[in-house]
């Protein structure tokens, strides 16, 4: 009986420690849903588009969300707006110069003001944001939703185990701060760009 109790305690402790370990979530979405959305005011109507080339990993521990670390990468050439000519101009030398700056990167440094309610963690993410070769530290209010054992359901294979981590956030940048036509065409294209993210990372269990 004593042996059984000890074995049970050790098993529970091991299970708890495994559960508490940080899990690495891959943000290259198998369903292709992940995208960054951007919009900025312009003459006639706001220019709004998306960037679907999202990748990167985030290490998240539901028991210690403040220790979250990771990096999200967006392929610059994946940025599109509904008008083909505008897309061409946006990716060209005068604006994003996608050929010379193939990646837009957010490298998380730390999470601050962390609070968790249920499976949702709210925090302010501080990190280094790189756009058009210019890196600046920014703060982004984020929400991390941990969906335990939801990976299989999402890919229509319930037998496959694994977790999902949904990352949501919204922030503004000044395009001039990142060398995108600084001080130019402000009357035609607003210098302020709104960026929204709602992306999901997967952590299948082997």
């Amino acid at each position: 009986m004593k042996k059984l109790v000890i074995t049970s305690v050790i098993t529970l402790a091991l299970a708890a420690s495994l559960h508490a370990a940080p899990v690495s979530f891959d943000f290259k979405d198998p369903k292709g849903v992940n995208a960054l959305q951007f919009s900025l005011d312009s003459v006639l109507e706001p220019i709004a588009g998306t960037a679907g080339g999202v990748s990167g990993t985030v290490s998240f521990d539901p028991a210690n969300p403040a220790a979250t670390s990771g990096k999200i990468v967006v392929a610059t050439k994946s940025l599109v707006v509904p008008n083909a000519t505008m897309t061409e101009h946006m990716l060209g030398n005068n604006w994003l110069d996608a050929a010379a700056n193939p990646e837009i990167v957010f490298q998380l440094s730390k999470l601050e003001g962390v609070s968790t309610a249920g499976n949702v963690t709210s925090a302010t993410a501080t990190g280094k944001f790189t756009l058009k070769g210019v890196t600046k530290e920014i703060k982004v209010p984020v929400k991390l939703t941990h969906l335990a054992d939801a990976f299989g359901k999402r890919i229509n294979k319930p037998e496959v185990k694994g977790d999902l981590l949904v990352l949501r956030g919204e922030f503004m940048i000044q395009r001039g701060d990142f060398g995108i036509q600084p001080g130019k065409n402000d009357d035609k294209v607003n210098p302020e760009i709104k960026i929204s993210i709602a992306i999901v990372g997967s952590a299948p269990k082997a």
């Binding site: 006639l44 109507e45 509904p82």
Partner: protein
């Protein structure tokens, strides 16, 4: 020639407005792909998919109407047919 230019101008004017109105009378820029929102059922993420079709915008309307107006204006610079050339 004057009458021909005026007819072309009128045709271009009507066709441009008709095409723009028929394709949805979009008051923004022309679109080569149309964004549509979808929701991922498991995560609740609202994402954008694009349907590849052309929607004419104000730029096409302005271009067509502008060209039609220019043709109409040019038609007035042409000299009317000389009546003395007509057989008597």
């Amino acid at each position: 020639m004057k009458r021909v230019l005026q007819t072309i101008a009128l045709g271009l004017f009507v066709t441009t407005i008709g095409f723009w109105a028929f394709k949805g009378a979009h008051t923004g820029w022309s679109q080569n792909r149309v964004p549509m929102s979808k929701t991922d059922e498991v995560t609740g993420i609202v994402y954008t998919v694009y349907e590849n079709r052309y929607v004419p915008g104000i730029d096409l309307l302005a271009g067509g109407v502008g060209l039609a107006s220019a043709l109409f204006a040019v038609s007035f610079l042409l000299r009317p047919k000389n009546k003395t050339d007509q057989p008597t």
